[in-house]
């Protein structure tokens, strides 16, 4: 991965990973063996014709490469950047067995960036059917479902409760990983297909449930936006944030540019981030860019960190200090934060997934205090409860997800769901994959009802 130098990137929110040059993209593409039974495709949740598009790159036909990708993935500039490729397509690439796998994600990003600069081809759409589809939420799931329904000729209205579209891509993932102009560009592609986007519309409130259910089909992609808190003492002090709040204040509201932008933020000079996933890495790296010394407190070992390897490496390079095998027990201070008390964790016998279970050490001297003035909790998010809870008869799963079958059907015949609201917090491409299936089922249902 090519990255900008640390010193430079800590000064701004510009993208850290630099793309491949045309020449390097072609060279990388030439490494692919074009396997007749490509294992890489099995690793991609939306089954992109990977050898197909890589072959087009090798032949320097970038337009064709873009067309091939877009048959299965409408948001390649996004997936090429944030997909956990090392755990998906690249983990199954045959070349990875002996050598390094083909850099599929980087190639996908290259094609998408090339297309954006050289003019995007609008996909073909079927003639108008007059059927109306409501899409709730404009994250990757909603955007994908909207695209598929538009292509089938249906009239699509996307409702979004925030003032900007994109879901987590806009408010959660920082610009240095996911530049916001690229998110907006990809969303505009969908809007040019004819979708109507209604911002500031909270479905269940601005759009009453009966009005929603009056559409010919409904797709719910409301995401997993509900932040969990640890439930320890001191959590209500000023300066304790959920990762969602911290990231939203910066990414969506631009608190990093306060007072030019109005939204304030306690920047902190020493920040503790609790958690070990992508959300924790993003929070820690944002805090570093705001000038703080950053500790990342994680209850398991460093090798257990669930975040993408690449993001862990970036965080380490950027000077985030990892405090592993430790768990916070209380936040000190009041009304502001003056420290965080932690306890060391022992790794005990393994659970079913083979991971050792962390347990608090009992010996004396197992506790310690970090001197911090801001705490960011990135310990997970649950399904957005607002709308799902308002629809009578909608079956919900454990922890409030919406229950769906393989094709995204809910317990209500013309209501479908996909993305994090159905699966629990997962990935961008996972959300897109499930939305695509649901949209296919919607399109089939609407065609059958002709």
């Amino acid at each position: 991965m090519n990255r900008r130098p640390v010193k430079e990137r800590l000064q701004d929110f510009d993208e850290v990973a630099t793309g491949l040059s045309e020449q390097n993209a072609v060279l990388e593409a030439l490494r692919c063996m074009e396997c007749p039974r490509p294992l890489c495709v099995n690793g991609c949740p939306v089954s992109i014709d990977i050898p197909g598009f890589i072959n087009a790159i090798a032949n320097e036909d970038f337009r064709k490469a873009a067309r091939i990708i877009k048959e299965d993935n409408m948001l390649p500039a996004i997936c090429g950047r944030v997909c956990p490729q090392e755990a998906q397509c690249q983990s199954t690439c045959i070349l990875g067995k002996k050598d390094k796998p083909v850099r599929i994600g980087a190639l996908e990003r290259f094609v998408a960036d090339w297309e954006r600069e050289n003019g995007v081809e609008a996909p073909e759409t079927a003639p108008a059917t007059g059927k109306r589809v409501a899409v709730v939420g404009s994250g990757p799931a909603g955007i994908t479902a909207a695209t598929e329904c538009l292509r089938a000729g249906h009239e699509v209205t996307i409702f979004e409760s925030l003032h900007a579209a994109g879901g987590v891509l806009t408010y959660g993932i920082p610009a240095f990983r996911m530049p916001k102009d690229i998110v907006q560009f990809e969303i505009e592609q969908v809007l040019t297909l004819g979708a109507e986007l209604k911002l500031n519309h909270i479905v269940g409130r601005s759009v009453p449930v009966d009005e929603l259910l009056a559409y010919d089909a409904v797709f719910i992609g409301t995401g997993a936006g509900l932040p969990y808190f640890m439930g320890i003492k001191g959590e209500k002090f000023s300066g304790v944030y959920s990762a969602n709040e911290f990231l939203t204040r910066v990414n969506l509201m631009h608190a990093d540019k306060f007072p030019e932008f109005d939204t304030p933020l306690i920047r902190g000079s020493r920040v503790a981030v609790v958690g070990g996933g992508n959300v924790a890495m993003d929070s820690a790296r944002v805090a570093r860019r705001l000038g703080a010394k950053v500790y990342l407190i994680y209850r398991r070992r460093e090798e257990d960190l669930p975040a993408r390897e690449e993001e862990v490496a970036n965080a380490i390079q950027e000077g985030v200090e990892f405090v592993c095998c430790a768990n916070p027990t209380r936040i000190l201070g009041g009304p502001g934060v003056q420290g965080i008390k932690c306890i060391r964790m022992d790794m005990c016998e393994c659970d079913e997934s083979g991971r050792p279970v962390p347990r608090a050490c009992t010996e004396a001297g197992s506790t310690f205090t970090l001197d911090v003035d801001v705490v960011i909790e990135a310990i997970g998010q649950g399904p957005n409860p607002l709308l799902a809870g308002l629809i009578p008869g909608l079956k919900r799963g454990r922890r409030g997800t919406i229950e769906v079958d393989e094709d995204g059907r809910t317990s209500i015949p013309h209501v479908f769901a996909g993305g994090d609201i159905a699966t629990g917090a997962a990935t961008v491409i996972g959300a897109m994959g499930s939305a695509k299936k649901a949209a296919a089922a919607i399109n089939k249902m609407l065609a059958d009802s002709e």
Binding site: H163, N200, S206, P227, K236, F258, P259, L386
Partner: protein
């Protein structure tokens, strides 16, 4: 973009705006609020729905800091970038019997819609409003009409009862005529006033105003402690049982950004002088 169709100053530093927002008025009820953002650089701030008429929603606000001062400087015909809503749970409107709706300061603005809904549900409604002085009272005529009875209080005695709404509430509690009470105003006023019903068993609601960002349950900025449990005021509230609220925690959290709020306001006034575009 959401157009300001009518703008008035209705008391010292307090403004009434009617904004065209059909998505808010369609289902907007007493107890709910909107979140607005004036422009691209703006903050998202919550304001209570004070009334609705056709496609227009009324907000009433006091110009206290950067955003509310900037809003107050806007004119009829201008537009606000974003208005999201209605947000929050509607008030617990049903047939209670005799209700008192109590407003302190700009909190009075929340009462008309509530009083009307309570009346329509068959309740007898007493309104009690209080402000530091006569100049800060608002919506008296409208409330006089919406309530069966309206009692006015001022701290300095410049109009009505010389004292606080809590005095009136205490009398009514002693007379055992009340079935439900709403108290809406600054934190400290709600805390103190709600003490009057504490031992009476009378259901008492307050509308909490912690600092919010999205207003949709996504950030947790608005978390409050109710009966020892964490709740998000924007989706679980903003109305809660007054006697279960951890008031000190709420008021501490409201002061989180005092320093930055001052800085933001100074930046705003400086900016006004340099470019003149906001004058």
């Amino acid at each position: 973009m959401y157009k300001i169709v009518k703008r008035d100053q209705i008391a010292d530093n307090i403004f009434e705006f009617w904004i065209n927002a059909p998505h808010v008025t369609k289902a907007g009820r007493a107890g709910q609020f909107v979140v607005l953002r004036i422009d691209e650089n703006g903050e998202r701030i919550p304001l209570t729905i004070s009334a609705t008429r056709g496609d227009d929603v009324r907000i009433v606000f006091m110009a206290v800091g950067k955003t509310t001062q900037q809003l107050a400087a806007m004119q009829e015909g201008e537009s606000i970038r974003d208005v999201a809503g209605p947000l929050g749970m509607p008030s617990a409107v049903k047939k209670w019997g005799h209700c008192a709706v109590i407003g302190g300061g700009v909190g009075i603005a929340c009462l008309p819609i509530l009083a009307r809904e309570l009346k329509a549900a068959g309740n007898e409604v007493t309104g009690i409003i209080g402000a530091r002085n006569e100049g800060l009272l608002l919506l008296e005529d409208e409330l006089d009409e919406a309530c069966d009875e309206l009692v006015i209080c001022t701290d300095d005695g410049s109009k009505g009862h010389h004292g606080y709404p809590a005095d009136i509430l205490k009398e009514m509690v002693a007379d055992q005529i009340l079935d439900a009470v709403w108290i809406i105003g600054p934190g400290i006023m709600m805390k103190i006033t709600s003490m009057a019903t504490k031992d009476s068993g009378i259901k008492t609601f307050v509308s909490l105003n912690p600092i919010m960002v999205d207003g949709t349950g996504m950030c947790g900025s608005c978390r409050v402690t109710i009966a020892g449990e964490m709740k998000f005021a924007c989706v679980d509230g903003p109305e809660f049982d007054a006697h279960q609220v951890d008031w000190d925690e709420l008021m501490n959290r409201q002061r989180t950004y005092t320093g930055q709020e001052k800085e933001s306001l100074e930046h705003y006034h400086e900016h006004k002088c340099h470019c003149g575009e906001h004058q």
